[in-house]
Symmetry: C2
Subunit: 395 residues, 2 copies
C-alpha cells in the first residue's frame, strides 16, 4: 500500500461484505446497499436473495419511503446459529453461548487456577460450554464457531499460546483441539485484544482506542481505526512490564525478574499484596475492590494510587498514540471512580495538551462481561468471513 | 470496518490503483496487473492504454516469456513532471526538486531560524524552490505538486501548524499560500511523518515501523502496516515530552514547562548544552556530533548517554507497539554507532524478549536527505491520487 495517499478504500459488495454492512447497521435495505457500495441494483438484489436463501438475512417490515414504494428492510438473522465464548482469566473461567449478534443466551463460570495447566482447565471450559448450550436449549449442531480469550500472548493463526508468562505449562498448547466436539472453527486471542473487541461492540468503531485491562496483571488492547493492532510478533499492548520509577523510590521485584514493572506496582496482584501489608481484612483482589466500593479509606487510597501509577504510563502512551479514548476494564475496573480519578490525575498532569484536550477516559460499563462479549464477537466475525459466507450461499 | 476479520482487502483496479501498482513495482506488465487485481484482461488493457495516452505510463522493452509472446513491460513515466520538496527544520531550510520517483534533480539549502516567522522563512523557501527549478532546467508548469515538512504539529487537511511549540508565530499560518506561484496542490505535514515516508522509500512498506528523529527536538513517525498513523488530533508520535526520570536524579526544566521531558535530557539541544557545560570546543549540535565522529571521548560519551536515555523511552514503546523495526534519523543520527549502541543497550535491557527478539534498530542511511525525499513522496502520492489520475486520463 502506498505510504500517504491510499488507493481509496472501496466499499466492497461481495456477499460477505453485504452481510457485514447490514449486520453492523451501515445499510438497512437493498437501496442503501446500492448507495453504500456503488454496485448495480441487479448485483445487490441477486446477492441479497442468496443471503436470504442461506437464512443469513431476513426481510422485516418496511422503511420510510423517500418517494415511491417504501423499501423492504433487511435484517441480519442473528438466530441463524450460535457461538461459544470462553473468557479464561488467571483465576477464573467464564463461558457464554450467544446468538450471532453477541447477545448472551446463557453463561456460567467459576474460579480456577490457570496454572492447573491446559488439559484440566480446558476440560472444565468445555464442560461449561456444554452446560450453557443445554441451558439455552441449543444443540451441538447450532454452534457455528468458538472464541477463546486467554491471559497471555497467542499465535493468532494457530491458537497456541506463545511463552505466556503467567500460564505455566500452556506454551504451544493447541487450544482449539479442546473444542473438537463442535465441528466449528475456534479462534483464540490474547484476553486484552478480545476485551477490546467487546468494548467496541457489534457496530465496531473507526476510532483509535486503548482498552486497558487491570486484572491480576495489566495489559492493553490497541484499536487502530476500529481494528485490533497486533504488531510484529502479535505482542503489541504488552504494557504490564513497562518500567515505572516508584514515586517513593522503592524497588519492587516483578515476577518477570525485572524491578518496578507497571504490574508489580499497580495491578490486581499488587493491590492485594499492599492491602494485606496494610492489614486490611481481605483474601482476594475482589475483596479490596469491594472494600473500596464501600468507602473504606485505606482501600480507596490503594486503588487511587494504583490508578495514578497506571496513569503515568498512560500519559506517555497518550503522547505517543494520541488515542480518541481510553477504556479501563478488568476486575479492578469494578472499583470505578477511585481508579479512574487516579488515572486521570496522572494523564492530565503529564500528557501534552493537544493529545489530552478531547481525550475521553472512562471505565467499562460491564468490565465483567467484555471478555465474553469480545470472544463472541471474535467468533462471529471469524464465522462470517468471506469464505464461510460464500460457502453458505452456494451449498 | 469490522473489528476482527476484515472484509478482504480487494486489490483495486481503478486507473489510479493500476498506476500505483506499476509505480511501486507490484506489477510490471498488463498480465501481472490482471493477476494482481483479478480484473478482466479487457478492463486492464483499456485503462493501461488511457494511462499511456496521458503520458503517465510508458511501454518499455519485453519481459521474459512464460510461454507465448513475451509481455510488453510497463514503466511509470517518472519524468511526466516534477515536485518541489521543502524540508523546514528549526535551524535549516532545504529544498529539492525531484522527478515523480522522488529522484533529486537539484537541491539547495542553508541555516535559518524558524522563529524568524512564517513570512520570512517561507519567502526564502519559495526563493530556493525557484532556484532549484532553474538549476534543474525545469519550468513552473512542470511542477505537479509541493510537499512541505515542518518541525511541529500540522492540521494535515489545511496545511496549517497547530500550536507548534518551537515555531513561534506559525500557529494557524496557511503554509500552502506561500507556494501559490505554482498552480499545484501543496501538502504539509509534521517533519517526522515526512521523514518516516522518506525512510519507507518509493516502494513503501507493509511493516510496523517507528522512525525516531533526533534533531534539535525528538519526535517519532509511526508507520502502521506501511501507512503513517496520526492519531485522534494528528499528534501521534509526539514523544519529545514523555517524562523520563534522570538516571542521576537531577531535574532538568524543559522549554514546555515540565521537568525531565525526553528532549530536555536527550536531544540535539541538550547535547549542545551538556557539551558546553563540559567545556568542549563547540558552538552547534553539529560540532558535538562531529567531535564524536572523530573519536573525542567526552563527546562520544555524551552521545551514547543521549542514546541510553532515548532507549529507555523506546523500550516502553517497543513493549506497547511491538514494531518490526526502528530507524533513527535527524541531525544527531549522523553520529551513527555511539548513538545507536546507547539506544540498543537500553532497549534490549528493558523491552520484553518477545517484542525485542527480532526487532531491528538501525540508523538512517541518509539522515540529511530523508526529510526532502519524504516531502517529495508526500507530494507525489498526493498528486497521483485517484481523482488527479482520473482527471489526467479524461482531459
Amino acid at each position: 500500500m502506498s505510504p500517504v495517499v491510499q488507493v481509496p478504500a472501496q466499499v466492497s459488495a461481495t456477499p460477505g461484505a453485504l452481510l457485514h454492512h447490514v449486520r453492523t447497521g451501515r445499510a438497512k435495505s437493498r437501496a442503501e446497499l446500492v448507495a453504500l457500495t456503488g454496485a448495480s441494483r441487479n448485483t445487490i438484489s441477486n446477492r441479497v436473495d442468496q443471503l436470504i436463501a442461506a437464512n443469513l438475512l431476513a426481510e422485516g417490515g418496511r422503511g420510510w419511503s423517500t418517494g415511491g414504494r417504501p423499501p423492504t428492510l433487511l435484517q441480519f438473522n442473528a438466530e441463524a446459529g450460535c457461538v461459544l465464548a470462553v473468557d479464561l482469566g488467571v483465576t477464573s473461567v467464564d463461558v457464554a453461548v450467544t446468538d450471532l449478534s453477541a447477545r448472551v443466551l446463557a453463561t456460567a463460570g467459576h474460579p480456577i487456577d490457570i496454572s492447573a495447566g491446559p488439559v484440566a482447565v480446558l476440560a472444565e471450559a468445555e464442560r461449561l460450554a456444554r452446560e450453557v448450550l443445554t441451558e439455552a436449549g441449543l444443540r451441538d449442531e447450532d454452534v457455528r464457531s468458538v472464541g477463546v480469550g486467554v491471559p497471555g500472548p497467542v499465535e493468532f493463526s494457530t491458537g497456541r499460546p506463545s511463552h505466556p508468562p503467567i500460564m505455566p505449562g500452556w506454551h504451544d498448547h493447541p487450544i482449539p483441539d479442546a473444542f473438537g466436539r463442535w465441528a466449528a472453527p475456534v479462534f483464540v486471542d490474547n484476553d486484552v485484544n478480545v476485551m477490546a473487541l467487546g468494548e467496541m461492540g457489534v457496530g465496531g468503531s473507526v476510532q483509535d482506542v486503548l482498552v486497558v485491562k487491570v486484572g491480576t496483571g495489566v495489559g492493553c488492547g490497541i484499536i487502530v481505526e476500529g481494528r485490533v493492532y497486533r504488531g510484529a510478533q502479535g505482542s503489541a499492548g504488552d504494557i504490564g512490564h513497562i518500567h515505572v520509577p516508584a514515586a517513593d523510590g522503592r524497588s519492587v521485584l516483578c515476577r518477570c525478574g525485572n524491578t518496578n514493572c507497571l504490574e508489580a506496582l499497580a495491578s490486581g496482584a499488587s493491590l492485594l499484596r499492599d492491602a494485606l501489608a496494610a492489614g486490611l481484612p481481605v483474601t482476594t483482589t475482589r475483596d479490596v475492590v469491594e472494600l473500596a466500593a464501600h468507602g473504606d479509606g485505606a482501600a480507596l487510597e490503594l486503588v487511587r494510587d494504583a490508578g495514578r501509577t497506571i496513569g503515568t504510563v498512560l500519559a506517555s502512551l497518550v503522547n505517543f498514540f494520541n488515542p480518541h479514548r481510553i477504556v479501563v476494564t478488568g476486575g479492578v475496573a469494578r472499583a470505578g471512580l477511585p481508579l479512574l480519578s487516579g488515572i486521570r490525575e496522572s494523564v492530565y498532569a503529564r500528557a501534552m495538551p493537544l493529545a489530552a484536550r478531547t481525550l475521553d477516559i472512562s471505565v467499562s460499563d460491564a468490565p465483567d462481561l467484555s471478555g465474553r462479549v469480545g470472544a463472541a464477537l471474535m467468533a462471529i466475525e471469524g464465522y462470517l468471513d468471506e469464505d464461510s459466507v460464500r460457502e453458505a450461499i452456494t451449498s
